[in-house]
């Protein structure tokens, strides 16, 4: 038996029945294209999620004032989160690297000479610079001594510095925050956007004690940041902190919390949004589509076996063995799905490139889904091609010729 001649017969049969071949191929093309686009989009989303998680920090546990679930923001009107809570965490919880407390207010009027603007005020403890990995680029950051003396000093973010001082070095000058005079002791480096996409450079950082007692006149915090030594401890420690806070704030679980805890997990879930489940659903649908395409191909092949009964009988009469007939029909189904898969990949690749230009989606194109798609399609071709091919091969030559 000459395999290459018989496979050529298969190709020839496809080439002479172009419309039928196209219909057989259509399902595979669309299925594979959809599958590759969806996977590329899924990977794009995954990359975005990782970006945000990394921006948030994988070792971080953030305790926000105010309740809520998921990726919450601190609530300005909740006054129950205290410095004592941070102290309790430091003393009861183990495995932390840095615990830092922040009280913040937005849209505070600021003035330097004739220039004025609105900015955010962050009252922080000296560990904040290290916790945020955000030291002063020029001058100095907030120090323990500033805390102890409740000094009127501040460190400026790049955007605020630019708004108040233009291109001049602000260090050593004074600014007015809410009409109270502060000495600029340093300037922060430019900070990338937050996980939520906010600009973080429009801020003045002041000592926590000064902020609470003198500027804001309050004794509650906005949030506490706990950085763990090990990533692995984060989920367990988050739970311990939750319990500690329940005890300290006298909350028993059916009651709503007056605080919320955010870790990388919540950030990832928020970033993924519904797209995670959606991707899984779409992948399932596309896979089903591909299978339906396979069934359609199988049916067309079965019909074609019926139509070509005489041809099969003739081939058998002139010496084709059952295997030769089987091989020809398998060649037809495999070729259909293979070419369909390649066309589908090309289509999927094109769409994956074009989609982000017109819609708010991110796609990441990698070779794996395409290789997998082709493999999968060939498998479909084999699985759904075997039945018609076997039917063709089993035809009795005498009956087929009748």
């Amino acid at each position: 038996m000459n395999h290459s001649r018989i496979t050529t017969e298969g190709f020839r049969a496809l080439a002479t029945h172009k419309l039928r071949t196209f219909f057989m191929m259509a399902g595979t093309i669309v299925g594979i294209a959809a599958l590759t686009v969806i996977v590329s989009m899924g990977k794009g989303t995954q990359r975005e999620v990782m970006k945000r998680v990394n921006a948030f920090g994988t070792r971080l546990i953030k305790i926000n004032a105010g309740g809520g679930k998921g990726y919450t923001k601190p609530q300005a009107n909740v006054v129950t989160l205290k410095m004592e809570d941070a102290e309790a965490i430091r003393s009861t919880i183990t495995g932390w690297d840095i615990v830092t407390s922040v009280a913040q207010k937005h849209g505070i009027p600021m003035k330097a000479g004739s220039r004025q603007c609105e900015g955010d005020v962050f009252a922080v403890d000296p560990d904040w610079h290290e916790a945020m990995e955000w030291p002063a680029q020029v001058g100095e950051g907030i120090a323990a001594e500033d805390m102890a003396t409740m000094a009127h000093v501040c460190v400026l973010g790049t955007r605020l510095a630019k708004a108040l001082f233009g291109d001049e070095n602000p260090v050593g000058s004074d600014i007015l925050i809410n009409n109270v005079r502060y000495r600029v002791k340093g300037a922060l480096s430019d900070h990338p956007a937050s996980p939520g996409g906010d600009d973080e450079n429009n801020r003045a950082v002041i000592p926590l004690t000064t902020g609470l007692r003198r500027t804001f006149n309050q004794n509650h915090l906005t949030y506490i940041r706990v950085r763990m030594k090990n990533v692995a401890d984060v989920p367990k420690t988050a739970e311990q902190i939750r319990q500690l806070m329940h005890e300290r704030h006298h909350i028993s679980p059916p009651e709503t919390d007056d605080f919320s805890i955010v870790t990388a997990k919540e950030v990832a879930e928020a970033a993924r949004g519904i797209s995670g489940t959606l991707t899984a659903l779409l992948v399932t649908l596309a896979t089903l589509g591909l299978l339906v395409g396979g069934v359609v191909m199988m049916n067309i092949l079965l019909i074609s076996v019926g139509e070509r009964t005489k041809e099969i009988g003739l081939r058998r009469a002139v010496g084709a063995t059952r295997r030769a007939v089987l091989l020809q029909f398998l060649t037809e189904s495999l070729t259909v799905t293979l070419i369909g898969a390649i066309l589908g990949c090309a289509l999927g690749w094109g769409v994956s490139i074009l989609l982000p230009r017109y819609f708010k989606v991110v796609t990441v194109i990698s070779w794996e889904p395409f290789a997998l798609a082709v493999l999968f399609a060939v498998l479909v071709g084999l699985v759904f091609g075997v039945q018609p091919a076997r039917r063709a091969a089993r035809l009795h030559p005498v009956e087929a010729l009748r």
Partner: protein, 243 residues
């Protein structure tokens, strides 16, 4: 060449058994030209299928060139059909979408070895049946007689000793039929064994021997003393046309 001993063929459908061949024994020597006759339903097509290794008898023994065919499996029968038997059918059975040349080359695809000069062989075979100028024509572009000649070229491409023709002139006008029979005459002269199945006495008389089937048995087996000569008849026809 062909030895049949008490061949039986019974079709079973459910609980009903229909015997079609009821013990057929005869021999065909190498180079013989035999017509198998009989009314429809007498089993001549069934006999032809068994002789052509397309079907197996339910009883008896069939030896082709000394080898017992009844014992062979499907693959071996396929191989036998490929290089020992050439079929010519009433309905031609050409592939509609393939050219005459491709149709003739078809059996070579299933040959043990695909010859390097397959195309040249097919061209030669087509030229031998007078279709040198129709090689790239599709069946739909050919007349019935031409289609049957393509089918004969296809039957000859693997150079088989046995040609089995089932009503080869059945779908043809008399002129085309005579042309086909003239080709058989030539093949017979070249030493090939020809078995011609027909219900038509006039066609059967071209053979040297006539075997008549009746009710699944051989009713008659006689030599034709003066077979008709299709070549001479064709020449006469041509003469008449030229007049």
């Amino acid at each position: 060449m062909i030895e049949l001993e008490n061949i039986e063929k019974t079709y079973v459908s459910g609980s009903v058994a229909t015997p079609v061949l009821k013990g057929i024994s005869f021999r065909v020597g190498s180079g013989e030209y035999v017509a198998v006759m009989g009314a429809s339903g007498t089993g001549k097509s069934t006999l032809m299928n068994i002789l052509g290794c397309l079907d197996k008898p339910t009883g008896g023994q069939y030896r082709l060139e000394g080898a017992d065919v009844t014992a062979l499996d499907d693959d071996a029968l396929s191989r036998l059909r490929n290089h020992k038997v050439g079929f010519v059918f009433q309905q031609f059975h050409l592939l509609d979408r393939a050219t005459a040349l491709r149709n003739v080359m078809l059996p070579l695809i299933y040959a043990e070895r695909y010859p390097n000069d397959a195309k040249q062989q097919a061209e030669k075979a087509l030229a031998a049946v007078g279709l040198a100028d129709r090689m790239s024509y599709k069946p739909s572009q050919l007349s019935g007689g031409q289609q049957q000649r393509v089918a004969i070229a296809r039957a000859l491409i693997t150079n088989p000793h046995l040609i089995l023709a089932d009503e080869p002139t059945g779908n043809l006008d008399s002129r085309s039929g005579t042309e086909v029979l003239a080709i058989f005459k030539r093949l017979h002269r070249d030493g090939r064994t020809i078995l011609l199945v027909t219900h038509n006495e006039a066609v059967a008389e071209h053979a040297n021997r006539i075997v008549v089937l009746r009710d699944g048995k051989i009713a008659e087996d006689r030599a034709v003393t003066r077979p008709r000569d299709a070549e001479a008849e064709l020449a006469a026809l041509a003469k008449e046309e030229n007049r």
